[in-house]
Symmetry: C2
Subunit: 123 residues, 2 copies
């Protein structure tokens, strides 16, 4: 099994915001060691690649299992409906590839600690 990770962000009209996601994905790749055979990002809207395109690229490179990670803080319509619908398109095209959607980032149990760390120490 070749397992890949696709970080899915909303996408923005601001190129800098999309570049920020791409740079974060680079950092995730550096941190991941050999946990995933490939790590890419994709966008729900407003920036390339789309989720189906991002999945397709990973599958072309040999992925047989892809974890889709929603880079979202809240469980809105995007997380609950739109991302699953996009993923379903690729599942239909590639029934032999396992694609699972991980919990969205906001659910992380480490989030309170991350918030406190970002807030800094009261001076």
């Amino acid at each position: 099994m070749i397992h890949a990770l696709l970080v899915v962000a909303h996408g923005s009209r601001r190129a800098e915001s999309n570049d920020e996601v791409r740079a974060l994905t680079d950092r995730v790749r550096e941190s991941a060691g050999d946990r995933f055979a490939a790590i890419d990002c994709a966008f729900l809207e407003l920036a390339p690649p789309s989720i189906p395109d991002g999945l397709e690229r990973l599958i072309e490179r040999g992925a047989t299992h892809v974890t889709v990670l929603p880079y979202f803080l809240a469980a809105g319509r995007h997380v609950a409906e739109d991302i699953p619908a996009e993923v379903e398109q690729t599942r239909t095209m590639h029934p032999n590839v396992t694609i699972e959607i991980a919990p969205y980032l906001g659910t992380s149990e480490a989030m309170p600690g991350l918030l406190l760390e970002t807030a800094g120490t009261p001076g």
Copy 2:
């Protein structure tokens, strides 16, 4: 100095999303120990309290220093312009209170690790 923390989220039409932020803020409060005298949340739009209202409540409870933490993943207009503009209103009303805006959550150096943790271990 009495130092408080205000977690600022975007706010959603979905009540569940706003409640998620409130529950997260409760968890932050539990994790924080005595680092901050008070920890609340506020919303840029679509849900109460607003940022000025949230700041006002903390100041009423004695805060002389407030750290505003943008619970945002990307540096869009909301982070760059809207939150600072709202904070400025309160600064004008309360010149003796120090209000600082922390980096937004997406800048955290721990974010790649959090993403990998949320993605789980390839099975």
